[in-house]
């Protein structure tokens, strides 16, 4: 049984039918990429998994348990953390306080301390800036903080929404390297990207989303070779 199973979910914004029956799954330890153009429904998919939105139809099963009716704060507690689109760090909280917010549902002090050291090792820059307000960080640092903050929940599944958005190419490179590193430590990752090239190079499997429907899926290497994908998402004729 897969760790996270999404079955035929339909999500609406009032009358806008944003997700029109999406199904996919995540196995333990995988990086799965979800690619698609702007407005395809990638963020809606992640938010439906996280419980910020609820599907009108379909189900989401996490480790054997249906979670699609649960509120967002309970889903974090079960072990699904999200790095939201646009980072959404708390700009008037310090870096340290942002990380504490990441561990909000946890009470195990020793474990939290352990994870703090782990994320500081992953992102030494954050350690240097731990007493600075989140809003004073650069874009790249904010993305590091957003990822570190999500890791502080010690999740079993990490949802990443366009981590490369708005970053200089060299930073994109390093963020993706970090994602690979986190994956190698055993994390299961669902990676949403418009930067399909990058996403497909680190993912094991991929799904292609178009206007609320999955139109293609398979091993990342195969999806990458698909002529339509090459034309539409990899900028090749």
């Amino acid at each position: 049984m897969a760790l996270l199973e999404v079955h035929n979910i339909h999500t609406y914004y009032d009358h806008i039918h944003a997700l029109k029956g999406i199904s996919f799954e995540l196995d333990r330890g995988e990086i799965v990429a979800l690619i698609g153009a702007n407005g395809a429904g990638k963020t809606t998919t992640l938010n439906t998994i996280s419980g910020l939105r609820h599907p009108r139809e379909g189900s989401i099963i996490f480790d054997g348990q249906p979670i699609h009716h649960l509120p967002a704060h309970e889903i974090v507690q079960l072990g699904i953390a999200q790095v939201p689109e646009g980072r959404k760090i708390f700009s008037r909280l310090t870096v340290m306080e942002n990380l504490d917010m990441g561990a909000f549902t946890r009470r195990d002090r020793a474990g939290i301390q352990e994870d703090l050291e782990r994320v500081f090792k992953l992102f030494p820059r954050l350690k240097e800036r731990r007493n600075q307000l989140g809003g004073t960080l650069s874009g790249g640092e904010q993305q590091m903080l957003a990822i570190a903050r999500a890791l502080m929940a010690r999740p079993r599944v990490l949802l990443l929404d366009e981590p490369s958005m708005g970053l200089a190419p060299i930073l994109v490179e390093s963020i993706f390297q970090t994602i690979t590193e986190i994956s190698q430590q055993g994390m299961t990752i669902l990676l949403v990207e418009q930067n399909a090239n990058m996403a497909l190079s680190v993912a094991h499997r991929a799904y292609v989303l178009e206007t609320g429907r999955i139109v293609l899926s398979g091993p990342a290497a195969e999806v990458r070779e698909n002529p339509q994908v090459r034309a539409a998402y990899l900028g090749e004729a």
Partner: protein, 350 residues
Amino acid sequence: MKERKVSLGLLLRLGIGLLVLAFFAYRFYGVLARQAYGAETWARLAISGLIIGSVYAVIALGYTLVYGILFMINFAHGEVMMIGAFAGYFVLEAFAASGFSARQPVLAILITFLAGMTVSMLVGISLERIAYRPLRGAPRLVPLISAIGASIFLQNAAQLMFGSMRRTYSNPPALERNVGWVLDVAGKPVSITYTGVLTFAFSVVLMIGLYLLVQRTRLGRAMRAVAENKEAAALMGVDVDRVIANTFAISGVLAGAAGVMWGLHNGIIYHYVGFIPGLKAFTAAVLGGIGNIPGAMLGGIVLGIAESLAPAVLDMPFQLKDVLAFAVLVLVLIFRPTGILGEVLAEEKV
């Protein structure tokens, strides 16, 4: 074209500002030249302003906390204070009748405060649950109208339950009103009442307590996170509804404490007693920068002292105190809508 309009508006505001300032200076000069008031009067006015200002500050914190999280003005907040004042009143009545107030004044006052704060806390929580939560996500004007409705409802409910007569707080004998220490200022006596000292001291304690709560505790951190971004806070595992309810509870506790202080220090309460202090505290919150916690504290103290001194400074009748206080609101809204400590926040979220 657009540039000209902006600079014209700026010029106009500058002009009005200078005129207002010149008028103030002229009136104040007259007062000083005539030596209309002695040093002891100024001292008395400043002290009473500081005391009332500290109460405004405590109430203003309630407006600012709720605004910080929901971007709405809880116009029923003054009524939450009024209900707390009544709760304290009935407890003190019972204590006075049984002689408990005379035997155990400290305990009696403590329990009175606890009663006022608890009742106001429950009113605050209910208010949010009944009048605001169902309207979450509606356009901003909708909860505002609901708040005004809740305010009218609470006033009328209090009138129905307690009647419309004015009631006098039965302070314990040890905490008699208008009794206190007497200072000597330029050879004249200036009294500092016990109730005034209690009010000021307890207000400061509440403000420090709130500051520590917001800055140092897990709930405080969650409140700040929710204030900044509700969805991001939810993604951290924060139960946003619960944090909002807690915010109303805290605002209610502060309002209840203010209500009891008002009763102990000023003596008179009735179903309408929350209205003017509520508006004043709202003014104070706007003056300090709505949504800003130190701003609410500063705004309350500044407004209290300003309204107390202004009639004397401007050589106007003391009855104009309230008018002058609300003139402050108008001036702030014209010249600095973000308030003294206001951040960009106030602008960007409105």
